[in-house]
């Protein structure tokens, strides 16, 4: 199947054979696919490597046959987004998260759009922590793992802003026992649902919650980016 001008983000590239690259791409209409870019590591390659770097929107022409696609052409769409510093590290986290949570050949236009706007926010220097939480929320939503942020998981009662909750990945928010550690406030969950940025303590609680939920959906195991970013002193 020949596909032209498909909006795409490259997530990751690894050397393949002598002069080729194996790209992991997020396309808008064909989901995540593996793409072989033949000969692009050659010195005089027709297609420049810099166009196949992550974090820039490109229009991809490729042939899709079986598991892997073959790259035919790629050209940038719009201006390149420049992620620097913490935003760059966060971008690598986004990529690992998307690759680990999505399946290949599963079209998810909502994930593609959320990813694109998240990169834009990171490039524009919006606060990294809140930007990532919004993306995680939208990603889980699009993949059918939506968080229950407005009602209690067991009773179905509306969450109380001043209430203290424990979040269980399979069930949702349930009222915390007295003195339970790692709780999250009702108002933080409601803020996330309404797309309002909570305070620093709220962000920290949501970050912990997201890690727990993502770990659950990964089927155990960790994201590599957590350790890299954690040690780099990046505030997320």
């Amino acid at each position: 199947m020949r596909i032209d001008q498909q909006p795409t983000f490259v997530m990751h590239g690894r050397p393949y054979r002598e002069t080729s690259l194996l790209l992991e791409c997020l396309t808008r209409d064909h989901g995540r696919i593996g793409v072989v870019a033949r000969g692009v590591r050659r010195e005089r390659a027709k297609l420049q490597r810099s166009q196949l770097e992550p974090f820039q929107p490109i229009a991809l022409d490729f042939l899709l046959r079986g598991e892997l696609a073959t790259l035919r052409a790629a050209e940038p769409i719009g201006l390149p987004m420049r992620l620097v510093g913490d935003a760059l590290m966060s971008g690598l986290y986004l990529n690992e998260l998307v690759v680990r949570l999505t399946a290949r050949h599963d079209p998810q236009p909502a994930v593609f759009d959320a990813y694109g706007s998240t990169l834009r926010r990171l490039a524009d220097g919006e606060p990294v922590g809140w930007t990532l939480r919004r993306f995680e929320r939208d990603l889980l939503d699009a993949l059918g793992y939506a968080l229950a942020l407005e009602f209690e998981g067991d009773s179905g009662e509306p969450l109380v802003s001043g209430g203290s909750y424990r979040y269980e990945p399979e069930l949702g928010a349930v009222p915390a026992r007295p003195n339970e550690p790692h709780t999250v406030q009702g108002r933080d969950l409601l803020d996330l649902a309404a797309d309002r940025c909570p305070d620093a303590a709220g962000l920290a609680a949501l970050r912990r919650l997201m890690r727990q939920v993502i770990t659950f959906h990964l089927g155990g195991g960790e994201l590599r980016a957590w350790t890299v970013l954690g040690q780099g002193g990046v505030r997320r």
Binding site: H12, R14, S50, G85, L88, L92, E96, R224, T227, G233
Partner: protein
């Protein structure tokens, strides 16, 4: 590939582990060695055996070396206050050949890449942090590649060096010498434009 000799078949198969060598080239190499280069073949075998057995990594900079400390790190004429961090031994060689750099190196043998499972531990960063803590290094030159992962690595290393109170510099990016702006890709041109310099008098 049918071959009358088992040893010959084995040799051809072994040669295929080299980059860019497929069945056909491997066969050509094997026949060439057997027909015309027996001496060269023995030399190759001995060199290969010795190198595979004895070449390890320098305990200071992690580049390939058969000594515990490589000649560059052991040299007294090198400036011990400047440390250049590169991704691979081939990058080290490129800098040695192209510049008059007289400082020392640190070779990461990779770059930060969560999706490849490469983190700070795999790149020897605890070892680098310890070295920065020794207080001898005054400037760290970040010569990782200008790729997304190379930039992320540079950012991480920059934080490491700043925490140790060391001056950090990064290789400049820009238009290649002898190049024409018309044919330079957008990203590079945008970068070169953004980090333009005041023209010296």
């Amino acid at each position: 590939m049918s071959s009358s000799s088992k040893l010959l078949a084995e040799l051809i198969d072994a040669l295929r582990c080299l980059p860019g060598v497929g069945g056909k080239s491997a066969q050509r190499m094997a026949f060439h060695l057997l027909e015309r280069e027996r001496q060269g073949g023995f030399r190759l075998a001995a060199a290969l055996e010795a190198a595979m057995r004895d070449v390890g990594h320098c305990s200071r900079c992690r580049t390939f070396s058969e000594e515990p400390v490589c000649p560059v790190c052991a040299s007294a004429s090198r400036d011990k206050h400047v440390l250049c961090v590169v991704e691979s031994p081939s990058d080290l060689v490129a800098i040695e050949q192209a510049t008059g750099y007289r400082g020392l190196y640190f070779v990461l043998l990779g770059r930060l890449s969560p999706l490849d499972g490469l983190g700070p531990e795999e790149l020897g960063l605890p070892m680098l942090a310890q070295r920065l803590g020794e207080g001898e290094v005054e400037e760290m030159i970040l010569a990782t590649n200008p790729t997304v992962e190379g930039e992320a690595t540079a950012h991480y290393l920059g934080q490491l060096a700043r925490a140790a109170g060391i001056r950090v510099t990064r290789l400049a990016h820009g238009v290649p010498l002898g190049g024409e702006l018309e044919f330079v890709d957008r990203g590079t041109l945008a970068h070169a434009f953004g980090s333009r310099q005041v023209l010296g008098s």
